[in-house]
Symmetry: C2
Subunit: 114 residues, 2 copies
Amino acid sequence: MSHPKTITVDEAVVNCCSPIGAGALSELEAGDMAQIFGALSDPARLRMLSLIASEDEVCSCALEEPLGKSQPTISHHTRILAEAGLIAGEKRGRWMWWRVVPERLKVVARILSE
Amino acid sequence: MSHPKTITVDEAVVNCCSPIGAGALSELEAGDMAQIFGALSDPARLRMLSLIASEDEVCSCALEEPLGKSQPTISHHTRILAEAGLIAGEKRGRWMWWRVVPERLKVVARILSE
DNA sequence: TCATACTATTGACAACAGTCAATGTATTCA
DNA sequence: TGAATACATTGACTGTTGTCAATAGTATGA
């Protein structure tokens, strides 16, 4: 759609979120940012994210055991992290492989550090 | 209590939270981090934080109108932000004055950028 | 085509969170 | 002392969220 550039990440992922100290947030922007932080606001999802961030790629099937949650719960959480743009998944064969989106993490970090 | 040093912020505020990519998080650490992100996961609180961060100090009474929320709701949200260590308040006369805790924001940023 | 394996979706339920009216507490000022 | 003001707490209501069992979807391999 429109004019894709040479970057591989969606523009909306990076082109987002002014720093918290740069004047009052609009309701819209606050809502978008709240979604991201909401994705990070659950212990299971944070541990999941740290597991994925510690490897290049992690299979969904490799998350159930360390997190001690059922398969539907794992699927639920990966979905929320993905919708927030924090991880991205690719299906290969029967397996779903997840990796973090470092650009997105940096965006969130920048919100708080400027 | 114990031996206060020359820093003005509580140690627990800064001495917290290993980066997300540095190996699997413990359940305890994940819980602590989830509390912080939970405080940031509401649009009203984010707008509130941005209002406070844009000034040196902001009175509770100055938040009701721009946020369009009732006084108890404002009080509820400031409490949650304060419990997460993101803002600190001081009562002077009848007024409660809030300011951000920049060290805490930096801690959270570091979680995501390392 | 059938059986198996990995993931997603649905439905249900309990726990939690955001909101406000009513009330309580503390401070200022007459 | 009393009235007024700013904030906190309580209680109630509603909507959201985390969880899992059951089920559906999809890919692999015999």
